[in-house]
């Protein structure tokens, strides 16, 4: 490459305006917070929510519907990314909304850092979603992870939270190392770090398959850690359990969207040619996750821990869709399979946010309400919220008319269409196992007498949002078409 060719092309900043806006606002809020005297941090909180609203507006306004690259091909804007980002903002807004009361009850957490860290984590996820370059992905992951480590440890007097943060940090750093190592090997095999360029190199056959294979193993391990699937799941139960519920809610929802995005970017956009190899790896991860997640969840008495294992099994189920995209070199089913996974992840995030939100709705100062037995007799205390929680449990178990059923259905039809009948049978078997522990939560709420008799005290707006969340689970279960076709459309325009 001669000097004349190395011209500086100014990047099209408009495409990344949402990220730039988020970064600017996060820094601004960091400074503004220094001057906030109020213990409740209302100004910080409102500014954070406004930032997310602003980012939503910017993202929607900037949507082109085409695949566009900027920053010398390090950044990609497409409809899938935009859709995931909008869902991301909404999720984070909902998370902050639910957490508001919980955070106020715990002085250690009610600091400006909680909000700025949330925004930086969100920025990290936005970068992950729009990455078209290994380094961009890595930067995004690190920005997200470092923010999350700090958030888990935010309640610094809590031993379990500190332990969880430590565990998360050590294992997370290891996973990042694996990912980076895999990336370097793939760079060695193909000579490029750019994801769309990678696909071209691989397609024309100029890659060392052995090194590529090794790189792929490390790459998939790193991704599996971020997704939290077996055998890279060890951090999930401890972090979910140990972290303050507000942070658990955050970890359990939004990062799943970003993790899905990097699976799509790295494996589908970049390494589709090697799909034979990574599909097999994901297949094993998926079946193991459904098995371990569902069986281990049965033994839990802590609701957060149970939901952690349930998250593992759900990520396993979601991966089924990623496994069945290419059959014998034929990518005919890819759109169907990947869009069903996307639908699965979106609806899972919706339901997961609701369940953790419910835990916080019942929590008070000095009382976490995260044991399953804390939900005993909820139907006596509040029939409405018991019904909401019941709908979310049945949705997670995959019973119609709740959206979880259609999520499972769409993945299963992709699996059967690809000819993996045995896999579909294994998946429904593990769903049956899973139904048991979701039913147990319903049993505790409806069949058992209440242990606590106090009224549920939560601000009206949280109650309304909680109800909207529960009703959305039911409503999307009756009318899933719009979201399904939105997923399909966004992938059609992005692949």
């Amino acid at each position: 490459m001669t000097l004349a060719e190395m011209q500086f092309v100014p990047p099209d900043l408009r495409l990344a305006s949402a990220e730039i806006f988020m970064l600017a606002m996060a820094c601004l809020i960091l400074i503004v917070d220094l001057f906030v005297k109020d213990k409740r941090r209302t100004v910080t909180y409102v500014l954070t929510q406004l930032t997310l609203v602003g980012a939503t507006v910017v993202t929607i306004l900037m949507t082109t519907g085409q695949i566009v690259y900027t920053f010398s091909g390090m950044y990609v804007g497409d409809l899938m990314g935009d859709l995931l980002k909008v869902f991301l903002y909404i999720t984070v807004m909902v998370v902050l909304f639910y957490s508001r009361g919980y955070v106020l009850d715990r002085p250690q957490m009610a600091r400006g850092e909680y909000y700025t860290l949330t925004l930086f984590a969100t920025l990290g996820m936005m970068v992950m979603i729009s990455a078209n370059h290994f380094l961009t992905i890595y930067i995004g992951i690190e920005l997200l992870s470092l923010s999350l480590y700090a958030m888990v440890a935010l309640n610094r007097d809590s031993v379990s939270a500190t332990e969880a943060a430590m565990k998360y940090f050590v294992l997370g750093a290891l996973a990042s190392g694996l990912l980076l190592y895999g990336m370097s090997m793939i760079y060695g095999a193909t000579g490029t770090l750019e994801i769309s360029g990678l696909a071209e190199r691989l397609f024309s056959g100029q890659a060392n398959r052995t090194i590529l294979g090794f790189g792929l193993v490390f790459l998939v391990s790193g991704i599996a850690f971020k997704l939290g699937v077996v055998p890279f799941h060890m951090w999930i139960p401890d972090v979910y359990h140990g972290a303050p519920t507000a942070v658990t809610l955050f970890i359990a929802s939004a990062p799943k969207l970003a993790a899905f995005a990097i699976v799509m970017r790295l494996l589908v956009n970049g390494l589709l040619v090697a799909s034979q190899d990574w599909q097999l790896m994901l297949l094993i991860l998926s079946v193991l996750s459904m098995a371990v997640g569902n069986f281990a969840a049965i033994a839990q008495t802590n609701l957060k821990r149970m939901l952690a294992y349930s998250a593992i099994s759900h990520m396993g189920f979601m991966l089924l869709g990623m496994v069945t995209g290419v059959v014998g070199g034929d990518a005919r089913y890819a759109l169907n399979a990947y869009s069903s996974s996307m639908f699965y992840i979106l609806t899972y995030v919706l339901t997961s946010a609701g369940t953790f939100g419910m835990i916080m709705l019942l929590a008070r100062a000095g009382f976490e309400s995260d044991e399953i037995s804390d939900f005993a007799g909820l139907n006596k205390r509040s029939p409405w919220f018991a019904a909401m929680m019941m709908m979310m449990m049945f949705s997670l178990a995959g019973i119609p008319f709740f959206v979880g059923f259609f999520a499972k259905f769409s993945v299963l039809q992709a699996v059967v269409a690809a000819g993996y009948l045995w896999l579909a049978i294994a998946a429904v078997f593990f769903s049956l196992v899973g139904a048991y522990y979701y039913l147990r939560v319903v049993k505790v709420m409806y069949f058992d007498p209440p242990v606590h008799t106090s009224r549920i005290e939560a601000p009206m707006d949280v109650k309304i949002l909680m109800s909207a969340n529960g009703l959305a689970v039911a409503l999307l279960g009756v009318f899933p078409q719009t979201l399904m076709s939105l997923c399909a459309l966004s992938l059609l325009r992005s692949l």
Partner: protein, 494 residues
């Protein structure tokens, strides 16, 4: 009449009524909740009446068809319609819902609104199952109907209710998950259609037919329930409140049998013929062995639960002999069992409400204190034993007649139920109702009140009416049954 979406009304009127009942909230408004529930149930029954009066008996085609796209992404349609087979069950279900609301009128004093709403919503979902012509729509209703029954057993059930509720839910879910995979498989094989009617016409090779048949069998056998996957039923029946038992016996058990007619037989006719011997054997085991098991029960509800399994054995036996007589007999048996088993459970409920025991030994001489009740109980016990002039006789007799033509020894085994069935039912009746007054509980019994009298009269009208004049029931099913038999006589293997 053609413009009114009658089937949609039959589904959504009870569900909507159930949601309205839920809004009445706490037990302070219990009287209002009961009135609203009764109103909803009666309205739900009334909207099904035009289904019968407007029914065209000459055609086997689906009637009152409604078709609208639901999830175009997977070509799933909101496709409803009934033929001579399913129409009766929509009506039976709506009728039983009224009975159930009346049955729980005084007994249920805890979370009244939720109780009644549960039954109303379930009634709508069950109507949805019988009226669905789209595989996914069927499945969604089929599975969703587990939720209300799970809650009803678990919240208002007996001491061991949690175990029974879980067993019920997980057993039936286990069956239906394989069913889901078969539906998806058929969807893909048919090139993207979930229409049950399309699947009826679709040719399928023998090996997949066998697998599909077996997957269907697991789902429906659990629901019927057939021996050896029947064990959830006695538990569920014993622990469920009276209303739950009535719906379970009268309607929920019919879902499995209905599934055979709508799915197994027409979609996989060759496999059905191939495996009919197996099904007949299972049916005979249910009839003979479960009949003997019923004989030794000490708990009245358990006894009737086992007798239900034996009676449902007749239904599956009737289906798999592939004759018009057998199939119509089985259908009559299904409807009749709805009245009789519902009534039997109601009678036990009436006694349980007063004495709080279901054990036969805690009773004796009930006729002395409850003469009116004893007369009704007598009628239903006789009907359960299959006495001529009751509806129990008609179905069993038709099936046995068909069995004689099919194979003498099958008929012989099936006919043994006439003796065993009479033995366990009448022996129980004798021990409970006749003899000297057994204890002070029985001595303090009060006879049935107006409401109980009304419920028992309605059920007695059903059981007797169908026994004396079964033609209104059989004539609507003729052309559909004949068409079904014609259809399954033709091989689908290309």
């Amino acid at each position: 009449m053609s413009g009114t979406p009658l089937l949609s009304l039959a589904i959504w009127v009870p569900i909507f009524a159930g949601l309205v009942v839920l809004l009445t909230g706490s037990d302070r408004n219990a009287p209002l909740a009961r009135m609203l529930a009764l109103f909803g149930a009666v309205a739900g029954l009334l909207v099904t009446v035009p289904l019968y009066t407007g029914f065209d008996m000459t055609t086997p085609a689906m009637q009152f068809v409604e078709l609208a796209p639901w999830i175009p992404r997977f070509n799933i349609n909101y496709h409803l319609g009934v033929d001579g087979i399913s129409m009766l069950f929509v009506m039976l279900n709506s009728f039983i819902t009224v009975i159930v609301v009346l049955a729980g009128w005084q007994v249920i004093d805890n979370k009244v609104a939720q109780y009644n709403a549960g039954f109303l919503i379930m009634s709508g979902l069950l109507n949805g199952i019988f009226a669905s012509l789209d595989g996914m729509l069927f499945y969604v209703f089929f599975e969703a109907s587990l939720i209300p029954l799970y809650l009803i057993i678990g919240v208002w059930g007996g001491p061991n209710r949690v175990y029974a509720a879980f067993k019920f839910f997980l057993f039936t879910l286990m069956g239906s998950l394989l069913f889901l995979i078969s539906l998806i498989y058929l969807f893909i094989q048919s090139g993207g259609s979930f229409s049950i009617l399309d699947w009826h016409k679709m040719p399928i090779a023998m090996v997949p037919q066998m697998w599909i048949f077996l997957a269907f069998l697991v789902a429906f056998a659990v629901k019927v329930p057939m021996w050896p996957v029947h064990t959830w039923l006695p538990d569920a029946h014993v622990e469920a409140p009276t209303g739950g038992s009535i719906v379970l016996a009268a309607i929920a058990l019919k879902l499995g049998a209905y599934g055979f007619l709508r799915f197994s037989l027409p979609i996989t006719p060759d496999a059905s013929h191939e495996l009919s011997g197996f099904i007949i054997a299972l049916s005979l085991i249910a009839i003979v062995y479960i009949g003997l098991v019923a004989l030794v029960q000490e708990d009245m509800k358990k006894l009737v639960a086992y007798s239900s399994i034996a009676h449902m054995g007749f239904v599956t036996l009737g289906f798999f002999m592939f004759s018009a007589l057998g199939m119509e007999g089985a259908l009559v048996q299904m409807v009749s069992h709805g009245f009789i088993a519902g009534a039997m459970f109601y009678c036990i409920g009436v006694m349980y409400d007063r004495v709080h025991s279901r054990l036969i030994v805690d009773y004796g001489g009930v006729v002395n204190t409850m003469p009116k009740f004893a007369a009704f109980f007598m009628l239903f016990a006789m009907a359960n034993a299959g006495l001529p002039a009751t509806s129990g006789f008609v179905g069993e007799f038709m099936v046995i007649l068909a069995a004689v033509k099919f194979n003498f020894w099958v008929a012989f085994a099936a006919a043994s139920t006439m003796i065993v069935g009479a033995a366990y039912t009448l022996w129980m009746y004798k021990r409970v109702v006749f003899g000297a007054v057994a204890n002070h509980h029985v001595a303090e019994l009060t006879d049935i009140n107006m409401r109980e009298f009304l419920v028992l009269t309605l059920l007695a009208l059903g059981a007797l009416g169908m026994g004396l004049y079964p033609q209104p029931f059989t004539e609507v099913m003729h052309s559909s049954v004949n068409e079904l038999l014609r259809h399954i006589a033709v091989s689908k293997i290309l």
